[in-house]
């Protein structure tokens, strides 16, 4: 579902950057020459090297974990099991965060608890299983484990606050 990423803004930014580069290239070609020669391309090559596997993995998640299946599955469970499934599925589902909101609204209509729906959004936004390979590669195992271990309690706390205060529009309560 990454293909639902809206890229209109990105295209505009890219066009502006291109214009700036072309304009400054005319003024000082040496600057770019030096820059391109001295640049360490290893991190860029690494991103591109991981990209094919990553995109296929996201495709696999999307095709074999259709939204309908996830929603029906989540609706059935409550208590600890429901919370666990909400978190797990939130972190597996690929795609940008704004797709999680209509998804969570549908979950609420299916009588999934507000706590679990908020947990689903929290997991979707903070921990993406498929993308962790990039965190491991670029920031290291220590950073990855620390960040996840520290983030999860706060995701739970946020969901708890939201569900205790019933912070959702009335039609979904």
């Amino acid at each position: 579902m990454i293909h639902k990423t809206k890229n209109k803004h990105h295209k505009i930014i890219l066009a502006i950057i291109t214009i700036i580069i072309v304009a400054t290239l005319a003024i000082s070609p040496e600057f770019y020459e030096n820059m391109l020669v001295s640049t360490d391309y290893s991190s860029i090559i690494l991103i591109l090297a991981y990209l094919p596997g990553f995109l296929i993995l996201m495709g696999l998640f999307e095709v074999w974990l259709p939204q309908k299946f996830v929603m029906n599955h989540l609706g059935k469970h409550s208590g600890f099991k429901g919370a666990f499934y909400s978190f797990a599925l939130g972190s597996i589902m690929p795609g940008p965060l704004y797709l999680a909101f209509p998804f969570a609204a549908t979950l609420l209509r299916k009588k999934v608890s507000l706590f679990n729906a908020a947990l689903f959004i929290g997991a979707w936004s903070s921990l993406k299983i498929g993308e962790e390979i990039f965190e491991l590669q670029f920031l290291g195992l220590k950073f990855l484990l620390l960040r996840i271990a520290i983030t999860i309690p706060f995701v739970i706390l946020t969901s708890y606050i939201i569900s205790r205060a019933h912070l959702v529009r009335e039609s979904l309560r």
Binding site: L46, Y50, P52
Partner: protein, 159 residues
Amino acid sequence: MNSALTFNMIVLAVFLVFYIRNSKKGKEVIISAARSLKAIAPLLIIIIIALIFMQVIFSEKSITGYINEFSGPRGYLVAVIFGAIIHIPMFIAFPVGGQLLQAGINPGIIAVLITSLVMVHFITIPVEIKELGLKFAVIRNLLSILFAVVIGIILGVLY
């Protein structure tokens, strides 16, 4: 490089297993991957340009003093605001974070930036309000901003 190769091989093997079981769905996977690539291509190019320019900026000696100035509370504040405004997918945020880590920036600040990047999205707040209500959107984003800073401070101490 070897780990990237291993990762690609494992994904390819899993994909082939699924493809053999159901070739129609297998083709859908390929189409989905191709569309994703098309959708993220402009952003990917922007990030590659940014990564090249970041190296130039960080190679300047004068910038080191500048970074030290932002390693305290001000750095956390800048990181959280930057993360809330900018909107990039997680897998692209990590290489940028890695670059900053190499440049000697406090890991706590990088954690704040990443957490804020992924959890707080000012641009998509209208969608959040429409689907889940004003209170949900405002409180979730405010809590995420607050917790992004707290998460970063804890990580900075423990790292």
